[in-house]
């Protein structure tokens, strides 16, 4: 992949805009024939032809039920599915047997929360539990720690778990700049903390959180560490061997892959200690009328017919990202983010919600425009073919923390280029003029 320099002496490089041709949708027009300016990758990424081809090829050549049947296609489909698992696990430094396929990251996190409520209920009733499941058994007053910048997907499942078990939810607050306030970390994560689940890169603020200090404190008190890596795995190199977390959730559709497939990576001994999530076919060892024993991970957590074609598509997405190179993707998006932050800082009436410098931050840039509701900003931008996200971004408490009902968010992917940031800024100015606030 060739790269071009943006600005003189920056030492950082943008990816070749030619790779936009790999994404068929970027060639279409919207709203009266205008070129699509897609600045909503944090919501979902666009897909390169390689991913679409991989899915199609699977259905055309290898489609069959996996992990059952002994015919030729069954073998090929199973091979494709399991090879995909290995490719995706390898992408984050993990092993195939540590990677569970889910529907999406939301389901991955629910799977973990469910392991706690299930282990707690089974313990109470004396039902059999996997070895090591004690660490998933909660007592009233035990504590669960999240942060104030969580996506609802990493907040609501834990609130539900608290309601089911009597555990107490606590959270790490934020600084005005939109970073985690770790000054009282030792008081938030205590001897009573059983699990710390936090976001790697905020989908609304763009903040990239340092994992090490939180994971270290969690380990000190024996708490499980869960990382919501939905916005980090697609945008930067992530290696589970050095992160120091126990479980890590991410989504396929945000990383150039298909919808309908997500992943939960877990350290082998942690997954082994977890009771199952959905139950039924494919996840069992022995079934009698009285009782069932369960398969080892990852099959234990994959009840029913899995999302095979989507897993194959996600593996193709991973291979695409590997060809570009994650350091190159991260560098590209860093340049774009710097460029956008500078342009928005100069735009009158625009307030960035989240870190205003590109250090320790990714390419999800939320902002407000004085006197304008984000819906109206988004509508004017849409009229120019610019797709942004407006609303609370499934992070309502984070909006409240910054005293805004909603924000407009531009988010970048490897296919975006600086000209699209320029169009965004022009569009914001047009919205201000249209509503008479500029």
């Amino acid at each position: 992949m060739t790269t071009v320099a943006l600005g003189a002496g920056q030492g950082r490089t943008l990816l070749d805009p030619a790779l936009r041709a790999d994404f068929p949708i970027l060639a279409r027009t919207v709203r009266g024939g205008q070129p699509l300016v897609y600045l909503d990758t944090a919501a979902t990424s666009q897909k390169p032809a390689a991913v679409l081809d991989a899915e199609r090829e699977f259905y055309e050549q290898r489609n069959s039920a996996v992990h059952r049947g002994a015919h030729f296609l069954a073998e090929q489909a199973t091979d494709a599915f399991e090879a995909s698992r290995a490719v995706i696990a390898g992408f984050i430094g993990g092993r195939a047997e540590e990677l569970v396929f889910t529907r999406n990251a939301t389901e991955s996190i629910n799977l973990v929360a469910h392991a706690f409520s299930s282990a707690t209920a089974k313990k109470e009733h004396g039902a059999p539990l996997p070895d090591g499941a004690e660490r998933f058994v909660l007592a009233p007053g035990d504590e669960i720690v999240v942060t104030e910048m969580e996506h609802h997907a990493n907040l609501v499942p834990w609130q539900e778990l608290c309601d089911k078990t009597g555990a107490v939810l606590r959270w790490i607050g934020l600084t005005d700049e939109g970073r985690l306030d770790l000054t009282d970390l030792d008081e938030v994560i205590t001897e009573r903390t059983r699990v710390v689940s936090f976001v790697h890169q905020s989908n609304i603020l763009g903040t990239v959180n340092e994992v090490a200090p939180i994971a270290a404190r969690a380990r000190e008190v024996g708490a499980l560490v869960v990382l919501d890596a939905c916005q980090s795995v697609p945008h930067m190199p992530v290696d589970v061997r050095t992160l120091g977390v126990d479980l890590l959730a991410f989504s396929g559709h945000k990383m150039l892959g298909p919808t309908g497939v997500g992943c939960l990576w877990g350290r082998a001994e942690v997954l082994a200690a977890m009771p199952p999530f959905n139950t039924g076919g494919s996840m069992i060892a022995i079934v009698t009328m009285e009782r069932t024993t369960f398969a080892d991970p990852p099959q234990r957590f994959e009840a029913g017919s899995p999302n095979v074609a989507q897993a194959v598509g996600l593996a193709a997405a991973v291979q695409y990202l590997e060809r570009v190179g994650m350091p190159a993707v991260a560098a590209h998006e860093h340049v774009l983010t710097e460029y956008a932050l500078a342009a928005l800082a100069e735009a009158p009436g625009v307030r960035i919600i989240g870190p205003t410098t590109a250090t320790g931050r990714g390419g999800a840039v939320s902002f407000t425009v004085a006197g304008l509701h984000p819906h109206d900003v988004g509508q004017v931008l849409d009229d120019e073919g610019i797709a942004v996200r407006v609303g609370h971004h499934c992070a309502w408490p984070t909006c409240r923390r910054f005293d805004v009902p909603a924000t407009t968010r531009a988010s970048f992917g490897l296919y975006n280029q600086p000209f699209e940031v320029d169009l965004l800024v022009v569009g914001i100015r047009r919205a201000q003029r249209f509503f008479g606030v500029a």
Partner: protein, 154 residues
């Protein structure tokens, strides 16, 4: 975009009618649009009983986009001073207007009933914005239903 943001809508957005929470009132509701976080707190004050009661006041505090703000203002203008039965009819007509882009079976909008609310016809073409326009109208219907329920909240 001018079909969406008609001048009447922008006027109501800039100078909303009936805004603020006032006494007396028989019912107060709080509605949110969970997809975008828009909120409205709305009170109704009725004079008389049942469907023939007069809508003496609709008072509200809301936060949201121009469409949702203007919609509440237009609704205030259209409903206050009319009976509950008339108001329900207007509400139905407005709902019909919002579905007009997706529902071929809906009849032509009643200009006499809808008045300024006809300006929202362009909203129907933007499905994501229909909920913005409906927020205050759904809140009003809820509040009136509660106000007319013996013993308060149904």
């Amino acid at each position: 975009m001018d079909t969406l943001y008609q001048e009447i809508i922008l006027d109501h957005y800039r100078n909303p009618v009936g805004r603020g929470l006032r006494e007396p009132f028989e019912a107060q509701v709080h509605h949110v649009n969970p997809t975008c976080g828009d909120e409205i707190t709305l009170r109704v004050h009725l004079e008389g009983a049942g469907e023939s009661a007069t809508v003496a006041d609709i008072s509200y505090e809301s936060q949201g986009c121009s469409i949702s703000q203007a919609s509440a203002s237009v609704m205030h203008e259209l409903l206050v001073g009319h009976t509950v039965a008339e108001g329900m009819g207007t509400q139905e007509a407005f709902l019909g207007l919002m579905k007009s882009a997706t529902d071929d079976s809906s009849s032509d909008p009643d200009e006499d009933v809808l008045g300024d609310a006809l300006a929202f016809s362009g909203v129907a073409r933007y499905p994501a914005r229909v909920k913005c326009a409906l927020l205050s109208w759904m809140a009003w219907k809820d509040a009136v239903t509660q106000a007319l329920t013996p013993g308060g909240t149904p």
